[in-house]
Symmetry: C2
Subunit: 397 residues, 2 copies
Amino acid sequence: MLSKRAISAPASPIRRLVPYADDAKKRGIHVYHLNIGQPDIKTPKQWYEYIEKYKKDVVSYTHSQGIRELREKFSEYYNLWNITVQPDEIMVTNGGSEAIMFALGVVCDPDDEVIVVEPFYANYAGFASYLNIRLVPVTAKPEEGYRMPDIKEFEKVISPKTKAILFSNPSNPTGVVYSKEELKTIAEVAKKYNLVIISDEVYREFTFDGTQAISMFSFENIKDRLIIVDSLSKRYSACGARIGTFLTKNKEFYRAALKFAQARLCPAEITQYGALGLLEADEEYMKEVIKEYNIRRDIAFEEMSKIPDIVVHKPQGAFYLAAKLPVDDSEEFIKWMLSNFEVDGKTTMVAPLSGFYVTPGLGKSEIRIAYVLSAEKLKDAINIMAKAIEEYNKRSK
Amino acid sequence: MLSKRAISAPASPIRRLVPYADDAKKRGIHVYHLNIGQPDIKTPKQWYEYIEKYKKDVVSYTHSQGIRELREKFSEYYNLWNITVQPDEIMVTNGGSEAIMFALGVVCDPDDEVIVVEPFYANYAGFASYLNIRLVPVTAKPEEGYRMPDIKEFEKVISPKTKAILFSNPSNPTGVVYSKEELKTIAEVAKKYNLVIISDEVYREFTFDGTQAISMFSFENIKDRLIIVDSLSKRYSACGARIGTFLTKNKEFYRAALKFAQARLCPAEITQYGALGLLEADEEYMKEVIKEYNIRRDIAFEEMSKIPDIVVHKPQGAFYLAAKLPVDDSEEFIKWMLSNFEVDGKTTMVAPLSGFYVTPGLGKSEIRIAYVLSAEKLKDAINIMAKAIEEYNKRSK
């Protein structure tokens, strides 16, 4: 009685190893979670302040596109980043997740194709499967620092079924921040082949070493074919708020997404009030957060670089680092690390990268680290993994 | 660049007349909103108490199926209603809306068919369109009090593409509470033709005159093919909480829905804490609420019955009443009522019923009233509508 889409839907590669971690915990082992982008940084205090401020007798539906006041505040925020969208060009969604689903639904019918830059945020595959859309990959290679593939690689995979290009910048899972030239590739391909660009820019503010994340919004000639996806989850360490946005200047896209939004009624009222508060967080908060991630990025990269035979590049953004480990199968290695390895009662969990690819076999030795723990813990966690690799490879030879 | 599914997605019949109401308000007219199921009843105070109680430094992701504690509490609640589901058979969703979408996705591929009893909750059509599923209607007729169609009507429309039957009990929009015999029809058809039953039981507690809403869970032989959809929105006057549930004893269904749930990460954390509070609301709260709706139901029915040439039956549940008005086109009538009619600076908005049907042309003279306002306002609102009908028919002849 199960649908084919239910059968073929991928289990989340980030969450599917959770039972192994749970088992380890049951045995009394402390597990460092570098597998999921759940930061330990405090959510701004304005979250609860605004929830308190907007207390209501009746917890009511809101407008399907989100409350006006929140869309106005978002508009001000985006204007600061030169993304000049008006409140009526902003839709509040249940996290960035729903914004991506709306974007895919607006543009694609079943069996249509969307080009993704692999490795990509793994849940794109889940959304595509739910909506019966085919993800067609162009591959960013670990040996080349996961940079944007050449325009020719895009042209190779375009078919009459291709409707859109979907990618994130800064990139989850690689931490790469694309240059203006690299993004121009996307803009040019989209323009030339009449494709829609779905640009996932949730890590916009997390960049290091003076790098700036350039929004696709800065390319004038593709504004009518652009949907930007955003989220408050990472920016304000508020993953559980589930507040994202769907931004577009294309009125047809907006109207279509609104129909999908109306069917599900609205995002939770109280989280929209909380989001109003988050957008009031002072600049100092963001500065401190970026500073902290910068420190962690440095430590994560430094410690990872010490691992013999690893392929790793210094990421410039987001809070992820992807690397190719000297192991045959990273998923097997992670299971083993959780099940059979410990140092002083501690072990480490990271995400296997194969689920972030569509091409079978790719990413098999790669992993993603989310550097969402404090510097000290992060260092300890990576050192434990380094020892685990050594042990694992001895064992299997 | 728009997908066919985006083009064909229906605009919500409940929300699409909102601009006419907004215009009326701009002209200084007071609009009675009987068009949407947004009650005026207070949400239990435990909502904010629990949100306060569970304050956290970091607003985090939860398990994709919802926090354990909430699923345990839901399990206790369902057990009281003889729906013996365990916490691992309960998934917390973004309102009943998402539970329906998961259910449809678990069972249907594009172009598959789902039988619906029309008139049905209009947003079913939106979800089906988003997932490229065809809704195939069997019709409940106003002249027959919108009772469940005969088993032969179901058998007439079953095809090899039919995968499920989706309906609500008590019914939104008709307020009908189905008898054991009527529900047996559904169970028998499902069993005989290997269909899944998606039973939307969100109005379970809203029944009058000693009527009981029987859960599909009480039919032993279809438990393996049953998905129950539930929501806290109406029960606790907490529509903006966006907390629903997806219940099933079928482990394959659950696992498949969990994959969809993992892709979108989790429902908002804070609303899950609030929901814990709602489930602590005392019995007195529910008793008072039902008593209040009972009074309103009586008034709504009494006032509606006075309208000449109306077809209306006394509803036994939910907080809706559907009726066939003596007008040619109820949508045109409602627009006219909002744009050209007032009594002492007031007018009334109701929902046109055509959007609650799939069969073209049906429901054209019908409307739905949500009796979610206080008795006095309700009476005034219906009287205004009665006068509007008289005026409208004079005008058009």
